[in-house]
């Protein structure tokens, strides 16, 4: 399906209506104007007719001076402005000087109640004329008085008017079109705002769609928020189920393991071996389950400095013989784009490992590039232990490998660290530290630090 722009459709539709409405307006205006002109012409002609009637009634036998109508148009031959007085036999008694060289066409219309009839005709020169004729009945005879006016002049005026109307309405049309384009943009601004708000949620800058929206799209914003909320709830529920399952399975496994570990019985040995396998599977698949639940989380960010400080405090208690020093570069907080508990899991395992291997000192540092966020954050964990060779480092980063069975804790926890780092698109590298031990370099996505 072709993607259509609402703004463009709005503009096109409003433009089409605009053109139609303006065209109809121009037509109606011109029509009204021409009707008004026609009426005014009739009134002029009726006035002249009345004058002629008055003059012919006061004179005797229709003997009239040729210039009895003052209007000079009646004197110009072929002007379209004529008058004529005829007797009942149709003989012209008198006529205007303009009628010299031509004759008026015969009227065919019927007289009305006032003995007046009117018609638009063509004179001998092909000029359109408006004719009014009145029949006057005298005691012994009757007179026909006809006055005509030039219709072409009127048509010319109407044409001029039409031209001007088109110019003016065209200008108005262009202004309205520009306005409707602006209005379309303006009306769609909240949609742009909504899309930016949703983007902010995805970026992790906001937990929900923020801001006031017009009534038309406010329900959409609300639905997005509801969706985010229910998503979060589903994930929380999945996680708590995973946690319950873990608790439920791990306690009986612990019992089985302890019960069989102390015995030399053959069955006990089988139980112990199988229990170990089950524990491994349980923890592997619980990890996977919680990782799967995690990938759907959008729009979380957490204060990396606060997480590391908390972990430093915890390590001081778990490893009192090891001195953990934390350094936070810059004064502004550095935000990790993701779940706080995930960062805790990643950094916790790295620092815990460093403490287990260290002789006496572990250094943790946090920095961001660029410092105002949006790029990546780097966490360095160094210890002064025995260190690793490159091959050992590679081996450690593979799943389920323990370097030293004597170090407490089940595995190095680096498998889950690696999976989490991969999910967040970060990197983890192990080097030999200048402090003689291992240097773990962790790089993770950072969020912008605009809101909390």
């Amino acid at each position: 399906m072709r993607r259509r722009s609402i703004a463009l459709s709005l503009f096109v539709y409003s433009l089409a209506w605009l053109v139609l409405a303006l065209a109809v307006t121009a037509f109606l205006l011109t029509d009204l104007y021409s009707r008004a002109l026609d009426t005014s012409l009739r009134e002029t002609l009726e006035f002249h007719l009345e004058t002629l009637v008055g003059v012919s009634l006061s004179s005797d036998g229709g003997e009239l001076p040729a210039s009895s109508l003052a209007d000079p148009r009646f004197s110009r031959p072929g002007s379209g402005w004529y008058w004529e007085i005829r007797d009942s036999s149709g003989e012209a008694i008198n006529f205007s000087p303009s009628l010299i060289g031509t004759v008026l066409p015969e009227l065919t219309a019927v007289f009305d109640a006032d003995n007046v009839r009117t018609e638009a005709r063509e004179d001998g020169f092909g000029t359109q004329i408006r004719m009014i004729e009145r029949r006057i009945t005298l005691a012994d005879s009757s007179l026909l008085i006809t006055v005509t006016g030039n219709l072409n002049e009127m048509f010319e005026l109407v044409d001029n008017f039409r031209g001007q109307t088109f110019i003016v309405l065209g200008a108005v049309g262009i202004m309205l079109a520009v306005m409707s384009a602006i209005v379309a943009r303006f009306a769609l601004r909240p949609i742009g705002k909504l899309s930016r708000a949703v983007e902010a949620v995805r970026e992790g800058d906001a937990e929900r769609v923020e801001g006031e929206y017009p009534t038309e799209i406010a329900p959409l914003a609300q639905e997005v928020n509801e969706l985010l909320h229910s998503n979060t709830q589903i994930i929380e529920r999945a996680r708590s189920q995973v946690g319950n399952l873990a608790h439920g399975l791990k306690t009986p496994l612990a019992v089985l393991r302890n019960e069989s570990a102390g015995s030399r019985n053959k069955i006990a040995k089988v139980v112990l071996a199988e229990t170990e396998k089950m524990s491994g599977m349980v923890s592997t698949y619980l990890d996977r389950a919680s990782l799967a639940a995690r990938t759907a989380v959008v729009g979380r960010k957490s204060n990396a400095g606060a997480v590391l400080e908390r972990l430093t405090r915890v390590m001081a208690k778990l490893h009192p013989e090891c001195d953990v020093e934390f350094q936070h570069s810059g004064s502004r907080p550095i935000w990790f784009r993701g779940e706080e508990s995930d960062l805790e899991e990643i950094a916790g395992n790295l620092i815990d490992n460093a403490c287990k291997w260290a002789k006496s000192e572990v250094r943790v540092s946090l920095s961001a590039n660029p410092p105002n966020g949006g790029g990546t954050l780097a966490i360095l964990v160094e210890d002064d232990g025995v260190g690793l060779t490159v091959e050992q480092a590679e081996k450690v980063l593979r799943r389920g490998v323990r370097l030293d069975e004597k170090t407490p804790g089940s595995g190095l926890g680096l498998d889950i660290v690696k999976e989490l780092v991969d999910i967040y698109g970060g990197t983890l590298k192990l080097y030999r530290s200048e402090m003689s031990g291992v240097k773990a370099e962790l790089s993770l996505p950072a969020a912008r630090g605009t809101t909390t």
Partner: protein, 219 residues
């Protein structure tokens, strides 16, 4: 050393209790949060093994309540939830260490030894008083490099006194810390065991402070 084990799973509770008893600890057990909380409030324990998922009152609430009331004994948390966020929560609630299920019993024993030792202010696994050395990890006592054979009761007694060397310890305190709550405390067993210990150790190792109790000298 007297330890409280709070764990709702009957089997696991028994296993931990057996392992600790075998290691020479006096052990009390509780099967739910309220009972555990009550025991921790009223009895002087040298350490507590506390499960987080408990009926009646969860482990973290029990721990927080103890800490609020000023009970500072070391607490080893036991839980199936082994994410760092859970550990941080547990440590912040006042726990001293953390073991995730399923665990090896040796791990619990090792962590407990370290907790008890650290709580008494000893940095290393070996506590020395004069010519007598106590290896906390191995449960061995030597005098001038020569191994001394002790019964488990004698070892418990010496271990407690050496953990708190330099301090005068009353008979009541010894009884409270060496025997679980079901023990008949009216007997003179403490005196009997001190007498036996004195015969196996150098003469000046355990001194009687008249009217107050016993003391193992600092060096």
């Amino acid at each position: 050393m007297r330890i409280l084990v709070v764990e709702d799973d009957q089997n696991l509770n028994r296993q931990i209790k057996d392992a600790l008893t075998e290691e020479g600890y006096a052990v009390d057990v509780a099967f739910d949060g309220e009972e555990g909380h009550f025991l921790g409030e009223t009895e002087p324990y040298d350490a507590v093994v506390l499960d987080i998922g408990l009926p009646q009152m969860d482990g973290l609430s029990v721990l927080e309540a103890w800490r609020r009331d000023g009970h500072a004994m070391p607490v080893l948390l036991l839980t199936a939830r082994d994410r760092w966020s859970d550990k941080v929560q547990g440590i912040d609630a006042g726990a001293d260490d953390y073991v995730a299920k399923p665990f090896h019993m040796e791990e619990i024993l090792a962590r407990l030894r370290a907790l008890v030792r650290r709580a008494a202010g000893h940095a290393s696994n070996e506590i020395i008083a004069g010519s007598v050395r106590l290896d906390v990890r191995g449960g061995k006592v030597t005098c001038d490099g020569k191994a001394i054979k002790l019964t488990s009761h004698e070892f418990r007694l010496l271990s407690y006194m050496m953990h708190h060397k330099g301090k005068v310890i009353s008979r009541t305190e010894l009884t409270e810390h060496l025997y679980d709550q079901d023990f008949d405390r009216d007997s003179n067993t403490i005196e009997v065991f001190v007498g036996r210990l004195r015969k196996k150790l150098p003469e000046d190792c355990i001194q009687t402070i008249r009217g107050l109790g016993y003391q193992v000298s600092e060096d």
